[in-house]
Symmetry: C2
Subunit: 402 residues, 2 copies
C-alpha cells in the first residue's frame, strides 16, 4: 500500500493483446490497495512510422514540429491503456504530458524536465483514479510541446516517482530484469536481484540497454527505488537502489558495446596543449569522447588515441584533418571494427586482482587487447569486434560462471 | 491583404503529396501578403483507424478517452502541414486545439466551443508566422481534451475566422464548390458562384454534404464570409454570405436525401393532444422528427405521418407501439424505402408558380408524390426511393437546365 509508478515501454503496449495484458498488471496493483500512476511510451513502431511520414514531407523539419508530431504517439497509447482499464471496471484517466504538469526547457527533441506541477495527478489520485500519463513529453514555458529524447519515458516515470515520493518506480520491459550479461550473447548470464545506481549507470552506458542513463541518474539523485520487470512474465525483477546487500559476487555484470570507433593521432609533437586542442575542437562540434589514451612521448613525438560512437567517427576525423597544419601529426588512423568489453562491480575497488583476472581470461581465449580503461567500478578493454562475443563469454565465465 | 482562415479536410491532407499541395496553396496565400491561419482535419482514414484500435480494446470506451485518442489525428496532420511549409522556406508554427485557445463545454464527443482565447494565434501572426491549427478539438474548463463531433474542423475554422475578424474563411474540400445538385447524380448540375447562408443551410440539411450545418449556422451568426473551394484544382469556388447579387436563377439547388423513414399512425381519435403526445415521446428519446403531416379529421379519426432518419425508425416505431393503449390508433406503418427531394432558393417566396412547376415536372416523369412540405426557401416532396434519381434530374431540368 503506497504510491507506485509503473512505466511500460513501446513493445509492452504494441497491440490490443499487449495493452490488455498491461491493463491487467495495473489493475492488480490498484486492487492491492496502491495508488497507481502509469507512464506509457508510444506503441511499437508508432514513433518510427511518424518519423517516416515526416521524412517524406521534409527531411529537415524543425525539431519543434517533430516534437508536436511525435508527442501524438504517447497520447494514443495512454488513451488505449485507459480504455482497457475502463473495461476492467476500474476508475482511470489518461493525461497528456502537459496535463500531468511536465514543464521542460526548450531543447526540442531532447528537453530536460524543469519541474512537474503535480496538482492534477494528485487530484486524480485523491479521486481514486488510476492515472495514465503520456511519457516522453512535456511543454516548455511558452506552451510548446517538447519531447525528452531517447529513454524519455523512463525519465518521465522516474521524475513523477520523485515528485510524488512514490514507494517504487517499476520499469516494465520485454526482459525480466538486469542480467550479468546480455542473455542473447551469454548463455549462462544470471539475473541480478539487486544492483546499485552506480553499477547500473556503468552497465547502461556500456550498452546493456535496459534502462536509459538519464533515468538512472535521476533516480540516484532523488533516491527513487527502481525495479526492472518483465511485462510479459509474472516474476520478480531487479531492484536498483543506493545500497545493496553485500554479496559474495565481486562483479555485477559484463557488457559489450559495439558502437565504438577508435581514432589514433600518431606522431604529434610532444609539447603541452596538444590534447587540449584536439578535445576542445571535438567538444565544440558536440562529439562525445569516451576513452582517451596518450602514449608516453619518445623521440619528441607521442600518440593520442580516443574512442567516439561510430556515427561521429567521420566527423571527428575531418575535424582533426582540418587542423593538421597546426597539430603537425604524422598519421591519422580510424578503426570502426572494434568493440568495448567491460566488467562492472562496486566490489572491485578493494580487490586488486580483478584486472589481471580479466586480462588472463582474455589471454587464454587468445584475444588481443588494444586499449584499457579503468574507473572505480569498471574495467573496459577495446578489442577486435570479431572477438567480442567470445570475449564477453570468457570474461563472464571467469568472474560469474554458472 | 487581410486575415484569411483556410480549412483543409482529411482527404486534402491524406498523404505526403496532398500535404505538399496544401502547403503550396497556403504559401501562395501568404506570399500574396495575407495573414494566414489554417485549420486541418486528421489525415484520410486516421480517425477511422483510431476508432478501430479503440473498438478492439474496449467497444464501450468512455467518450473522454475517445476524445483524447482522436485528438491525436489532427496533431499529426497539423505538424506535417507545418513541416511542408517549412520546406518552402516560410515561417510557420502548428498549434494544438488548446494551444490555439479553443475552450469548449464538457460534452465529450460533441463539444460546443465556449470561447477562443486568441492571444497565442494573434501573437504568432504578429511574428509573421503562418499558423496551422489542429481542428475538431479543444479543452474544457478542467483542461480535459474534447472533440467537436461531426463537421468539427469546419466549425473550428469558422469560429477562428469569427474571433479573428477574418476577411474570409475558405473551406477546401475535394469538390470545387456548391452545385445546383449532386454532380454525381445530375449531369448538368452547375456550380454556384454565390449562395446565402440560409440556402446553404437548407441544402446542407438536405444532404448536400459540402459544409456541416453547425459551421454554416455559426458563419451566419457572426457574419463570416465562407468560400467553398477545391484543394485539388485551382479555380474559383462558391461564396456563402448573407446577401447575394440578384440573379435570374430562382432556385439555388436541388437535393436528395435518402436517409428518410416515414412513419404513419393511422386512425387516431380526432381529439386534442394526440400530436403533442406522440412528438413529446419522440423528443424524450432524442429522436429528431423532420416533416410532419396531419390529415384532416373524418369520421372521428385522423392520420399523423412524420419522417425520421432511418437509424431512428425502429426506435420510433417501438415508442409508439408502447403507448398504443392510450393513443388507441388503428394501424402503425413504417416505410424506409422513400427519399426526400427538395428545391431550395431564396427567390421562391415571392413566386407562387414554383411549387406547381415542381409538381408538374414530377408528374411528367410519372413520379408519385407521397408527402409535401414547404418552408420560405424550400419545397420538399417524399417519393419512392427508386424514383429519386429520376426525380432529381426532372426537377433540376425544369428549374435550372443546362
Amino acid at each position: 500500500m503506497g504510491i507506485i509508478v509503473q512505466k511500460f515501454g513501446g513493445s509492452s503496449v504494441a497491440n490490443a493483446k499487449r495493452v490488455n495484458n498491461v491493463a491487467g498488471i495495473i489493475a492488480d496493483t490498484y486492487r492491492a490497495g496502491n495508488e497507481v500512476v502509469v507512464v506509457v511510451s508510444a506503441q511499437g513502431d508508432t514513433t518510427d512510422d511518424l518519423i517516416e511520414k515526416a521524412q517524406e514531407i521534409n527531411p529537415k523539419a524543425s525539431k519543434r514540429e517533430m516534437d508536436m508530431l511525435l508527442s501524438s504517439g504517447e497520447l494514443i497509447s495512454a488513451s488505449l491503456v485507459a480504455m482497457a482499464i475502463e473495461r476492467l471496471g476500474l476508475p482511470v484517466v489518461s493525461l497528456t504530458g502537459w496535463q500531468a504538469g511536465f514543464i521542460t526547457d526548450s531543447t526540442h527533441g531532447a528537453a530536460r524536465i524543469r519541474r512537474i506541477d503535480k496538482e492534477r495527478v494528485e487530484n486524480e489520485l485523491a479521486k481514486h483514479n488510476i492515472v495514465i500519463v503520456a511519457g516522453f513529453q512535456g511543454i516548455n514555458r511558452y506552451d510548446d510541446v517538447t519531447t525528452l529524447g531517447r529513454g524519455g519515458s523512463d525519465t518521465s516515470a522516474v521524475a513523477l516517482a520523485a515528485v510524488l515520493h512514490a514507494d517504487v518506480c517499476q520499469i516494465y520491459t520485454d526482459v525480466d530484469g538486469v542480467y550479468t550479461a546480455d542473455p542473447r550473447l551469454v548463455k549462462n548470464a544470471q539475473k541480478l536481484d539487486e544492483i546499485t545506481y552506480d553499477e547500473m549507470l556503468e552497465l547502461a552506458s556500456l550498452g546493456a540497454q535496459v534502462l536509459h542513463n538519464r533515468s538512472v541518474e535521476m533516480a540516484k539523485k532523488y533516491s527513487v527505488k527502481l525495479e526492472v520487470l518483465s511485462s510479459l512474465e509474472k516474476k520478480s525483477g531487479t531492484e536498483v537502489k543506493e545500497v545493496i546487500k553485500v554479496e559474495k559476487m565481486l562483479i555485477r555484470g559484463v557488457a559489450r558495446d559495439n558502437d565504438v570507433a577508435r581514432i589514433s593521432v600518431i606522431g604529434v609533437p610532444d609539447v603541452p596543449g596538444i590534447a587540449f586542442k584536439i578535445f576542445s575542437l571535438l567538444a565544440a562540434r558536440k562529439i562525445n569522447v569516451d576513452i582517451i589514451l596518450q602514449s608516453i612521448g619518445r623521440h619528441g613525438t607521442k600518440d593520442i588515441s580516443f574512442t567516439v560512437s561510430r556515427m561521429h567517427a567521420d566527423q571527428a576525423v575531418s575535424v582533426i584533418e582540418e587542423v593538421r597544419p597546426t597539430l603537425r601529426y604524422e598519421q591519422l588512423v580510424c578503426d570502426s571494427t572494434i568493440s568495448k568489453v567491460s566488467i562492472v562491480g562496486s566490489g572491485m575497488v578493494a580487490n586488486p586482482g580483478v584486472a589481471s583476472k580479466m586480462f588472463e581470461a582474455l589471454s587464454e581465449a587468445n584475444i588481443n587487447i588494444q586499449m584499457i580503461s579503468t574507473s572505480e567500478i569498471k574495467i573496459s578493454v577495446l578489442i577486435d569486434e570479431a572477438d567480442s562475443e567470445r570475449a564477453l563469454n570468457a570474461v563472464h565465465n571467469a568472474f560469474i560462471g554458472d
